[in-house]
Amino acid sequence: MTRHRGRGIASVNYPIGMNLGGDPSQALVHSNPSGKFTVALSSIDLGQGMKSVTRQICAETLGVPVEDVYVDTADSDTGPHCMGSFASRGTHRVGNAVMAAAREARGVMMEAAAEELEVNAADLDTDGRGNIHVKGAPHRSISTKDVAIAAQFKQGKTISGRGIFLVPLSDVDPETGEMSPATCYAHACLVAEVEVDDETGEVDMVRMDSAYELGRALNPRLVEQQLVGGAWMGVSHALYETPEPYYPEPVHGPRDFVEYLMPGPGDICPHDIAVLERPAPDGPFGAKGPGEMCANPVLPAVANAIFNAVGVRIDDLPITPEKVLRAIKAQGGARPQPRR
């Protein structure tokens, strides 16, 4: 018997956004005369889905179908200021800014619709399918397209909105570290199962089970992308990656994707995920941000699973076969812990 299985867990939280210089983002929303909306941002979509999630936030807030909204990112001439896409701030900060802008645009849209329908704007509602109707009287309705035409050519109104969301800088006490580092936190717990070869120190992932609490899964498919891909990156950080394999000695740095180790498609394992949603009071529809924290619990869970499998603690990342083998040898062989 040279291969041993073990399970380990880790639970974490993660602050959403940063506390540095104040943390603002802006958004502009406007309608064209056909009632189609453009969101202008300078925020970056680097794969996390910035364009898509702000599009849904805008559509929900305006009360129009998502197809009627298009998000344009990252043109410094047209997109208003944003700190950038990092620190899990995108969904929360930019989402809030888009919400604020969409709310303002919706206000004008409803006023314009009220003028056309000759009712009070407060008595109107959107149906989410491109129509605005009198509450309780769905037949008294007007399409957002007709509202936009009327606003532009008859009423002289701009259906547009400006939004900013700012989390002001919180002073950091130099002595005690007292501060408000974030306004909300995401949470996670992950169970990793591994198999360790006690003759070579190789570690294979067997499976992962996890629970992530993210405030609100604004788009569960995008959340799944982050959590699946993020956990893969967590495994990669735990077992494989570093540009300095002999840190702190700066030698033998990898130069290509063969030398820089990341798990391949043959190294992945099943991952069963549960998503919990405890809305953040200041999040857009309660959302926090899943993008960064998803990798974090994997690293210690894997390390703890290795201990459970063979009884060695590897406290240095990445946990290479060499480190595992050295520890097993120092211990005089694998010492499997009680299965759990």
Binding site: Y240, H252, G253, L261, P321
Partner: protein, 272 residues
């Protein structure tokens, strides 16, 4: 100085062009030379190609197999006669690299590349080269030992005796990444059996020295014996002897020394 591409129909002319120009490199599949150019290696200013069909010929009909230097790994994988080499061929790169990379180029691939050559070494292959002055046949271990001085020659083909049975040839690449990863170590063994005794044992190792090397002590432990548990144990124990692995990004020299015996044992005993 721009790069000049020279394409010849005859290998003789290509070899002459190679040997007369220090800045010339022969372009096989491109995985070494094109990469070097992309990365700004200005020592290369001439690319030499040869369109001679002999360079891409596979002769696997008889007991001696000849692979043209320009034969790709994908072509080996498509050749049923070469089933015993499918393991080594499949261990190279991903599908695109296997469609491009060649057995000739692999002879020059530095650690952590060059796994196919480990298989060739275990098969006692002979490398046919064309230099400026003429053709030669060089035993592969000799070729590898003088590899740094061989850049001016054109490798034409590599040939070796076909193993007597599928069982007799074994190959394994130990990589951290699956299914495509750089080698921590690479192992190949050719164990011809006469009766129940191994005769002419060859064990070759990759990443255990600057170039693939023979594990001669392990070979001695196997020679003339039956492949039983005690023989395997002796060969595994001797595997590290005579090796000089280095640290690199994939593993340390210490780790390679520690595991080479384990993997030799597993290879010989057919254990996963």
């Amino acid at each position: 100085m721009p790069v000049t591409v020279k394409t010849f129909t005859s290998t003789h002319d290509a070899a002459a062009a190679l040997s007369s120009d220090r800045s010339a490199r022969y372009l096989g599949g491109g995985t070494l030379v094109m990469r070097a150019l992309n990365e700004g290696d200005i020592s290369i200013s001439t690319i030499v190609r040869a369109s001679d069909h002999a360079m891409t010929r596979i002769d696997a009909s008889g007991s001696r197999i000849t692979l043209g230097a320009g034969v790709t790994f994908a072509r080996i994988l498509a050749e049923r006669e070469l089933g015993f080499l499918h393991g080594p061929a499949r261990s190279i790169g991903g599908p695109a690299v296997r469609n491009m990379g060649t057995v000739g180029g692999n002879l020059f691939a530095p650690v952590p590349y060059g796994d196919f050559t480990v298989a060739m070494l275990a098969l006692d292959a002979v490398v046919s080269v064309q230099g400026g002055l003429g053709g030669r046949e060089i035993p592969i271990d000799e070729f590898l030992q003088s590899r740094d001085r061989q850049t001016g020659v054109l490798v034409l083909a590599i040939s070796f005796a076909k193993p007597g049975s599928a069982e007799a040839f074994r190959y394994r690449k130990i990589a951290r990444i699956k299914p495509k990863g750089g080698a921590v170590i690479t192992l190949a063994a050719h164990l011809p059996v006469n009766g129940s005794r191994i005769v002419g044992a060859r064990v070759a190792l990759g990443s255990m020295a600057p170039t693939p090397i023979r594990a001669r002590a392990a070979e001695r432990a196997l020679e003339g014996r039956a492949l039983d548990t005690s023989t395997i144990k002796a060969a595994a124990a001797a595997a590290v002897e005579g090796t000089s692995p280095s640290d690199n990004a994939l593993a340390s020299a210490w780790y390679r020394r520690e595991i080479v015996g384990v993997h030799v044992r597993r290879l010989l005993s057919g254990q996963e």
